[in-house]
């Protein structure tokens, strides 16, 4: 079948992902609908990593020999690629971390210490009820440890941020506003520019969790007006067809320069004496120790791959699949989607409930048919609590997802209903 917006080269793209050939128990072909959890890897990412390990492996920066020069060059080229991928105003504003969680913690942890942006008593930190735990707990710890107050945006019944009290929430006491660009549970796309402008107007810093946005939406930070551009943006390598062990914190130079060091150690120093040390500038200041070298190089290949396919095309593909999935899911008796129902204004993660069957049990039956989805709270307990559910089932597509995989899902959900004798 063809669907408007699908990637024209879908069959070729699927060939790039070796795991899609994998047969599961009972000879079932894999139907991977858990890409919001982690994405699969194209051959070029794997090959780039192997080539590095087999031919160029060496520590970076510190090594002056040929392997060291090659490794350093490849690592820094990866930084250039990532900078291009998000349209970073400056390539040195791209910090490599181990995942999105570390990137968010880097900011939250250092805001507690003496420095230009230090948060303290009387300050307010604003987050939202739809955040991933990785964008909640760091701010709870910061509030707890500094005496600042944590506040948050609630959600409307259709899974949008409730902005009705935005003016009260974001006020002159607000030090930081942190929120997700795209919700990993509800799929909601939040108004980044609007919220950022509002926060900047009261002098607050803005931290955006782009873990679900970076895989799906074209991002061009340099193209955003200064007022609308967040101060920091985090995302994670393994969701953009890159390896695990690598994440990205982009931060405005002036913001990062004003933060004290996070991890101390090799590479982040200017000079070290026993009595005290001085620190390097960004990006090195926040990259203590041997960084995830082969992982950064793999990530570079990953974002290059995505850019080659085209982020606009990937976004259109995601919207097409998401729309098709929303339609298909609507046909399943007793199924309720959590979050926005309009494919055009949402990301590609769709969480749902099925009356009478617990999400684990749904996932289990689907798995017996080779269909991989996620069941649980998706690291978004507060958002689940907001909708009065303890857990949900989530399907999430990506650039390699085909409509027939959605058909398989819908059919398997019908089978689940009959397996649990719901009719």
């Amino acid at each position: 079948m063809t669907l408007e917006g699908l990637l024209p080269e879908l069959t070729v793209i699927r060939k790039d992902f070796p795991i899609l050939e994998r047969a599961l128990a009972g000879g079932m072909p894999l139907v991977y609908l858990d890409s919001a959890n982690t994405s699969q890897k194209p051959q070029v990412v794997i090959d780039t990593m192997v080539d590095h390990l087999e031919r160029h492996n060496a520590n970076i920066a510190r090594a002056m020999h040929q392997l060291g020069a090659e490794s350093t060059e490849a690592f820094e080229a990866a930084r250039d690629k990532v900078a291009a991928f998000i349209g970073a105003p400056e390539r040195d504003e791209v910090i490599f971390t181990k995942n999105a969680s570390e990137a968010l913690n880097l900011v939250a942890n250092t805001l507690a210490w003496r420095g230009e942006h230090q948060v303290g008593e009387g300050d307010e930190i604003v987050i939202t009820e739809m955040e991933h735990h990785s964008n909640i707990v760091p701010w709870q710890l910061l509030a707890e440890r500094t005496g600042a107050t944590l506040r948050w945006f609630g959600l409307t019944d259709d899974g949008q941020l409730d902005l009705s009290n935005a003016h009260e929430l974001i006020n002159e006491r607000t030090a930081v506003v942190a929120f997700t660009w795209v919700s990993n549970m509800l799929g909601t796309i939040n108004p980044v520019a609007e919220l950022t402008r509002r926060a900047h107007a009261v002098g607050a810093r803005v931290v955006v969790d782009a873990s679900q946005a970076a895989p799906q939406l074209p991002i061009d930070l340099a193209a955003m007006p200064e007022t609308d551009r967040p101060d920091a943006v985090a995302f994670t390598g393994h969701k953009v067809v890159g390896p695990t062990g690598i994440g990205v914190l982009w931060g405005r130079r002036a913001f990062l320069d004003g933060l004290p060091p996070f991890l101390g150690g090799g590479e982040m120093i200017e000079t070290v004496r026993m009595e005290g040390s001085t620190y390097a500038g960004i990006p090195h200041k926040f990259e203590a120790g041997t960084p995830p070298i082969v992982e950064a190089i793999g990530l570079g290949a990953a974002v290059e791959y995505l850019s080659h396919v085209g982020m606009d095309a990937i976004h259109a593909h995601e919207q097409a699949i998401t729309g098709y999935a929303l339609e298909g899911l609507r046909t399943v008796t007793g199924l309720t989607v959590l979050g926005p129902l309009d494919a055009a204004s949402r990301g590609g993660a769709i969480s749902f409930e099925l009356d009478g069957v617990h999400p684990h049990d749904i996932a289990q039956v689907l798995d017996s048919r080779g269909i991989a989805v996620r069941a649980g709270h998706h690291c978004a307990k507060p958002a689940h609590a907001r909708f009065g559910v303890q857990s949900s089932t989530r399907m999430s597509s990506y650039l390699y997802t085909e409509p027939r995989e959605i058909d398989a899902l819908v059919e398997a959900l019908e089978y689940t209903r009959s397996y649990f004798k719901l009719d």
Partner: protein, 160 residues
């Protein structure tokens, strides 16, 4: 590598399990208890609140009641129901042995042959042991029971 196909699905969801799931035995929190615990499976969010009530019997302490309130999947709900059937009325020592037997079964990756004389309906969980991701579901209430019982006994100690 552990596998799960259509056939295993039936091994997992045996009728006994589905029956306990639909009609759980002993569910609900009852007043008499010496200890209450709340356990969560952090990865999936399944929760159980469980109370243990011990009484002194002729041959030592006896599990007089286990009452619970649980939110979770069929496996975790059914397992709490089976626990109720198996442990209530037993001496604490014997209950601990049954607990150990159930634990061994669940952690055996499908290689342990369950003893029906000891585990009764619990043998239906033999299939669960082949699904590593579901073992935690089956053990949630059992771990909570052990914790609560240990607390109840420690509380006893405090009193004496």
């Amino acid at each position: 590598m552990t596998t799960a196909n259509g056939q295993d699905l039936d091994a997992l969801y045996q009728d006994i399990i589905l029956d306990h799931y639909k009609n759980p035995h002993g569910k609900g929190l009852r007043d008499a208890h010496e200890a209450e615990v709340h356990h969560v499976n952090p990865t999936c969010g399944d929760e159980v609140t469980l109370r243990v009530h011990l009484e002194d019997g002729a041959a030592g302490r006896v599990v007089a009641d286990v009452s619970y309130d649980a939110l979770g999947c069929s496996i975790s709900q059914a397992s709490a129901s089976v626990l109720y059937d198996l442990l209530v009325g037993k001496g604490v020592d014997e209950a601990m042995e049954i607990h150990q037997e159930f634990l061994t079964l669940m952690q055996g990756k499908g290689t342990v042959e369950p003893d029906e004389d000891v585990l009764e309906d619990g043998i239906a969980f033999a299939g669960v042991a082949k699904f590593p991701a579901r073992v935690k579901c089956a053990l949630l209430s059992w771990m909570a029971w052990k914790d609560a019982t240990a607390q109840a006994i420690a509380g006893d100690g405090d009193k004496s």
